[in-house]
Every structure is written in structure tokens, then in C-alpha cells.
């Protein structure tokens, strides 16, 4: 009996201690819950303003901050953080600060899905923004769809994104990957037949976005009689491009189209330089717009071109303000990745202001999705509307390195310099 009483007392004591601990924990949560999104302890990065934490709108994001897509991933991060800080400096969203929780998915498609599961389920975020790259957007969008969340994304442009039944997805850029080179294709088509390139080489990363951009142009060029002499697809982790370069050099193709991200484009260009290959036109998706590009290939950039959905010089209503704010924060003009992230913020903000809610309930998320289906949003990349699958209804500009600066050359009504053809030697 004595033992039993002692045991009972002991249990009571433990229960009392646990209860007191629990109360203290709960009290602590009310003041500053370390499990709240945005807390550094959760391995995240937060950007909050001056408002009270409990009122902040929590936005969850996973980005490739390391790994294959780390360069553009960090650009998107800068864009998101600049947007959040701008919103907070200007009164917040619905009068509340916004606070970002950014996780690193290491460019891994499995990781990105679990990141969004965590953000929605464990962290209880109010809204989510998309990651970078089609390969990561698709699994992320699926998680968002499973939970009925609005999913606006800055970098999933491949056709694969829009054919999988994502009724919650909106791409925050002017055009899908397949259409990125439309103005360039129009230009080549308008050339006198004798001056047109006769042969083309394509080298594309095994990635839906990168391949989408290259093959969109390939379809157009083949339709106008430009023969494909090399069509090479390489895995994303390819590091040695010398054999691909040898194939292209051997084909002596008139023009080269790279369906590329940053690192592979740089490696391929240097491998081609080493073999002395000199195309009349060299186009690479995304890489040339990266600020590190010129330094990476040794300033032999003249004439290299790339489609872009953004230019700091654009006269769209909010763009000048964006460029000024970003410049003041970072000391440089925003790039396309940064602009697309900012655009994502603008699109979601427009829906939130339009509907008047920002919470994870199915009702609110459903209203946000419906609002974007039926409205046009003014952004730094122009006014955006979407079709039922989330495709934006616009077009990309064509940029080219002219006198060492990347400059808009197509279409004619937006150009800042004349299109260079053939390309000077690199």
C-alpha cells in the first residue's frame, strides 16, 4: 500500500510538472511560438515588417537555394524578399504585414513536395508561392492542389505544367516556354530566303522548361525549312560538354539553340569556344540574363541572345517603382528571375485585395483562385490574364548582348538596339 501511495504521488507529481510545463509552453506560444512559420529554428528565412507577428500573413515558399538551380533560385528568393519588404513598407496586405518562410529544396523534386507539405500542414501558412523551375513546380503544385491552395508560380513555363489538371495554378510571366522564341522565329521567317540560316543545332537539358523553349523554336524553324543537324538532350547533372560541343562543331550548323539553365549554358559555350565553333546565331534560354553570365564566359558575349519576360526599362505602371525599390535594396537592377518573383507577389496580392481574405481555409483559397480566373492583373511584366490551365496570354521579348550589354532587340516596337546577325566571333 505504501508503495502504491508513493507511486500514485509520484505519478501525480509528474502530471503536475507536465501540466505546469505545458501551461508554460502554451503561455510561451502566445508570446512567441518558436514553431511559428518564419522562425529561424525551423530552418527558414523570414522577412517580416514592423507589424505584430500574430497578425502577419504567413507565406510559405520552397526554393532551390543549393544544387543545380541555385543561381536562379536565389534570384527568385531576392525577388520574393524584396516584394515582401516593399509590401510591408507600404502598409502591408489587407493592413497586415507579410512574412515569408523560405525552405531550401536543394533542387530536389522529392524535397520540394515535402517542403510544401510541411509549410501547409505543420507551419500552417496562409498562402504559398511557387518554386523555381518546371521540374520543381509540378510536384509543388500537386501538393498545393491536394490542399486546395492557390498556387501562383514564377518559373514553371513548360507545357507539362499546364496539361496536368492543375486548376489552382497560374504562371506569373508573359508567356509559356514553347512561345518564348516567337519573336525570333518571326524575325528569321521574315528574312530573305537566301540569308536565312539553313541548318540548326539544338542542345537541351533534359528538363521540361529548357527543352520546351528550344523545341518551340525548333518547330517554327523546321516549318520554314531550317534543317536540324544536331538534336542533343543531356541530363541535368552533365558536367562535361566537350562531346556535345564536338558534335555541334562537326555539324557546322549555321545556328545554335541551347535549351539551357545557367551552369550548362556556360559549360557548353566554353566547350564550343575551345573547339573553335562560330555559329551565326547562338541562343540560350535564361542563362544570358543572369548577371554572372558575362564574367563566367570571359566577356565573349557579343551577339548571344535569350528570350526574356522582363526588362527594367519596361514602361508598365508599377515597373519603375519596382526597379527603384530593388535598386535601393540591392544596388543593382532586377533580373528576370527577381522580376518574376515580384510578379508572383503582385498577382497573389491582387487576388487577396480583390477577395478580401488571406487564410488557408478552402473557402478563401477557392475565392482567390476564382478571382484570378476572372480578372486581369497589372504587373511589372505587363497586364496578365490566364487560360483555364494557367497559361499566361502574352509574349517574351528577345534580348541580345550588344556592345557588352544585354539589350532588347526584338520585337521592333520594343527594341533598344538593332538585332545582330550574324553573331560576332566568341
Amino acid at each position: 500500500m505504501i508503495t502504491s501511495t508513493r507511486t500514485t504521488r509520484s505519478i501525480r507529481s509528474w502530471v503536475a510538472v507536465m501540466a505546469a510545463g505545458g501551461l508554460l509552453t502554451l503561455a510561451g506560444c502566445g508570446i512567441d511560438d518558436p514553431s511559428e512559420p518564419g522562425d529561424a529554428d525551423a530552418g527558414s528565412d523570414s522577412t517580416g515588417g514592423g507589424g505584430a507577428d500574430e497578425e502577419a500573413i504567413q507565406i510559405g515558399i520552397s526554393l532551390p537555394l543549393t544544387g543545380d538551380f541555385s543561381e536562379p533560385g536565389k534570384g527568385v528568393q531576392r525577388g520574393y524578399e524584396a516584394w515582401a519588404s516593399y509590401v510591408n513598407d507600404n502598409g502591408g496586405l489587407l493592413g497586415r504585414d507579410v512574412e515569408l518562410t523560405i525552405l531550401d529544396d536543394q533542387s530536389n523534386a522529392d524535397r520540394v513536395a515535402s517542403d510544401y507539405e510541411k509549410l501547409i500542414n505543420q507551419d500552417g501558412v496562409d498562402l504559398v508561392f511557387g518554386p523555381f523551375s518546371t521540374r520543381l513546380v509540378v510536384p509543388a503544385a500537386q501538393v498545393a492542389l491536394d490542399y486546395g491552395f492557390l498556387f501562383v508560380e514564377p518559373a514553371g513555363a513548360a507545357e507539362d505544367v499546364f496539361t496536368q489538371g492543375f486548376t489552382n495554378l497560374f504562371y506569373a510571366a508573359p508567356a509559356v516556354a514553347q512561345d518564348h522564341y516567337n519573336y525570333l522565329a518571326d524575325y528569321i521567317e521574315a528574312m530573305p530566303e537566301a540569308e536565312r540560316p539553313q541548318t540548326a543545332a539544338y542542345a537541351a537539358m533534359d528538363d521540361p522548361f529548357a527543352q520546351g523553349t528550344a523545341y518551340g523554336l525548333k518547330e517554327r524553324l523546321e516549318a520554314m525549312g531550317v534543317e536540324t543537324v544536331v538534336d542533343e538532350v543531356y541530363p541535368p547533372n552533365t558536367t562535361d560538354f566537350s562531346s556535345i560541343a564536338a558534335k555541334i562543331e562537326s555539324s557546322d550548323a549555321d545556328i545554335l539553340v541551347g535549351g539551357s539553365q545557367y551552369q550548362d549554358a556556360v559549360n557548353l559555350i566554353i566547350a564550343l569556344q575551345q573547339l573553335g565553333y562560330q555559329p551565326d546565331l547562338a541562343a540560350f534560354s535564361t542563362a544570358p540574363t543572369n548577371p554572372e553570365f558575362a564574367a563566367a564566359i570571359g566577356d565573349k558575349t557579343e551577339g548571344i541572345l535569350s528570350p526574356t519576360g522582363y526588362t527594367p526599362e519596361a514602361t508598365y505602371p508599377t515597373n519603375a517603382e519596382f526597379v527603384e525599390y530593388f535598386n535601393a535594396e540591392h544596388g543593382s537592377e532586377p533580373t528576370e528571375d527577381e522580376a518574376n518573383a515580384w510578379t508572383t507577389g503582385q498577382v497573389v496580392a491582387a487576388a487577396v485585395e480583390g477577395v478580401g481574405c488571406a487564410d488557408p481555409t478552402p473557402e478563401c483559397q477557392g475565392q482567390l483562385i476564382d478571382w484570378l480566373r476572372n480578372n486581369e492583373v497589372d504587373t511589372v511584366v505587363g497586364p496578365l490574364t490566364w487560360d483555364a490551365e494557367g497559361r499566361p496570354q502574352g509574349a517574351h521579348l528577345i534580348q541580345q548582348y550588344v556592345d557588352g550589354e544585354i539589350t532588347i532587340v526584338l520585337p521592333d516596337d520594343a527594341k533598344e538596339a538593332d538585332f545582330i546577325y550574324p553573331k560576332p566571333e566568341w
Binding site: T238, T239, S242, S243, I244, S250, Q263, L275, A296
Partner: protein, 292 residues
């Protein structure tokens, strides 16, 4: 120019680099039965040091070898004496996989912390330079990397064949118990062997940095092919690793012509599979691997 000739030349240059990168890996196993998963992480560490050296001094990355080769040798001896030597002989091979896996993760984490995940590339005045020989174009950076590989492997061969330490090392590789019985300090030999292995990683990483974009997790890309090379060559055999590296480098480059990049990269694993089925001890491994 003829694509076959060009691809053959590229394959030989690539094979030389592979041989250098794999040399240390086979040495660890030969001397100590240690499967050194962290070898490729040390390669990337050396590549980062070369990049850091050039970025901050403006000098050629090859000059960084004056510091990194002895540094890596000392680190190798330290790692062997302090970490590897503590593992129990009965489970050494298995436990070395786990231990060196942890070392690789630690190096990757440190590189990410110090240099961030941003991709880096050394931009040299001769990065895009090349010259033509018999119709094939040879990039200067690839030739330098090949020359580095040749010099490092020749030095390694000289040490193994012509020095007293080399004799001790070879004796330890062939039969460590017998070597101990005839008075060879096999523990000391193991430490120095590990140091030499990491010194080759310093040279290999620098050669790699001359013509590649580097980032902290890049070592995972390399460890698979390097393991395949030393298994095909025969665990513990430096000449075997060199021969396998050359065969695989040339095969990969030539197969890329008809098969494309994706399939050409699988050559490592197809050859590895065939080797394990038909000659499990590799082409130069002999009885050593059979004992394993």
C-alpha cells in the same frame, strides 16, 4: 574536322582526368580496405581552394598546389590516424563507408557554409583557348589537366616502385599480415598511404577546377563513376584504375556520337555490371579483391 578523331582525343584527355581522380580512391582500399566515399568531396574541396586562391590572388590556380598538396597529405595522415585507425578490423570496410560518408557530408556542409551554394568557375585567360593537332582541336585547359594527371600518376608510380616506402606500401597492399611479420610498420604505412591518396585529390581537384563549374554537392556526381573505375580496374591497383579510367573515358566519348549524352554516361555502369558478373576482382585486381 573528323568527329571520330576529335571524340577520341577528347576521350583520352577525359580518361587521363578520370585516372587522376580515381588513383587515390584505389590506394585507400589497397592499403587499408577502406572504401573512401569522401574522396570526391576532398576533390571538390581542392577545387574550391584553387578557385579561392585564383579569385583572391589573381594567380594561376596551379600555384595553389604548392599549398594544397602538402596540406592534403597532412590531413590524410590525420584522418587515417585519428578516425580510420579507430575502426575495428573485423568491420573496417563496412564502417569506413559510413564514416567517410559522414566526412563527405561534413565537407559539403562546410563548403556550402563558407562558399554558399553558388556555382563557381575559374575564369582564366586561356579558358577558351585551343590549338589544332592532326585535325583535332585540343583545349589548353584540358591538356593542362591531362598533363597534371600524367605527372601525378608518374610520381605516384615512382613512389610505389622505386622507394623504400613504396615497397612497404606495396607489401602492405599485397599482404598486410606478412608485411607486419617482416617488420614493416603497417600502421605508419597506412597513414602515409592515406596521405598520398588525399594529395592526389588535391591535384585532381585543381585539375577539375580548370574546366568545370563547381558547387558543394558536386562530389555526389563524381563518386559513382570513380567507384566504377576502381572496381573495373581492380580494387587496390593503381595501374588498373588508370587503364579502366582511360577505357571508360574513351568509350564514353566515342559512344556519345551514336548514342547521345544520356546513354553514353551509362557506359560506366554497364561495364561495372559486366565486370562484376564475369570478372568480379576487376581486370588488375588479382587475389586481393577476391580476399575481400
Amino acid at each position: 574536322m573528323d568527329l571520330f578523331i576529335q571524340s577520341l582525343v577528347l576521350g583520352i584527355l577525359l580518361g587521363g582526368l578520370y585516372a587522376l581522380l580515381a588513383a587515390g580512391l584505389t590506394l585507400y582500399f589497397g592499403v587499408m580496405r577502406v572504401v573512401m566515399i569522401a574522396h570526391s568531396a576532398f576533390l571538390i574541396l581542392a577545387a574550391y581552394l584553387a578557385w579561392w586562391f585564383t579569385t583572391n590572388t589573381g594567380l594561376d590556380p596551379l600555384l595553389s598546389l604548392v599549398v594544397t598538396v602538402p596540406l592534403f597529405f597532412v590531413v590524410g595522415v590525420f584522418v587515417q590516424r585519428v578516425l580510420i585507425a579507430r575502426l575495428k578490423p573485423a568491420t573496417l570496410t563496412m564502417m569506413s563507408v559510413l564514416l567517410t560518408f559522414a566526412i563527405a557530408l561534413t565537407i559539403e556542409g562546410l563548403l556550402g557554409f563558407v562558399f554558399s551554394g553558388t556555382q563557381r568557375r575559374i575564369q582564366l585567360p586561356y579558358s577558351g583557348a585551343s590549338f589544332e593537332v592532326f585535325g583535332a582541336r585540343i583545349a589548353v585547359v584540358k591538356l593542362i589537366a591531362f598533363a597534371l594527371a600524367a605527372v601525378a600518376l608518374a610520381a605516384l608510380y615512382f613512389v610505389l616502385k622505386a622507394t623504400r616506402f613504396g615497397q612497404s606500401l606495396r607489401a602492405t597492399i599485397q599482404n598486410s599480415e606478412a608485411a607486419a611479420l617482416v617488420g614493416i610498420d603497417t600502421k605508419k604505412v597506412a597513414g602515409y598511404g592515406f596521405g598520398i591518396g588525399l594529395a592526389t585529390a588535391a591535384v585532381g581537384g585543381t585539375a577539375l577546377a580548370l574546366d568545370a563549374t563547381i558547387y558543394p554537392s558536386l562530389h555526389w556526381h563524381w563518386i559513382g563513376p570513380l567507384m566504377a573505375i576502381i572496381v573495373v580496374g581492380g580494387l587496390g591497383s593503381v595501374p588498373g584504375a588508370a587503364a579502366a579510367a582511360m577505357v571508360l573515358g574513351v568509350s564514353q566519348s566515342l559512344l556519345q556520337i551514336p548514342m547521345g549524352t544520356t546513354w553514353a554516361q551509362t557506359i560506366f555502369y554497364i561495364v561495372l555490371f559486366a565486370t562484376l558478373v564475369f570478372r568480379p576482382h576487376g581486370f588488375f585486381g588479382g587475389r586481393l579483391a577476391q580476399r575481400f
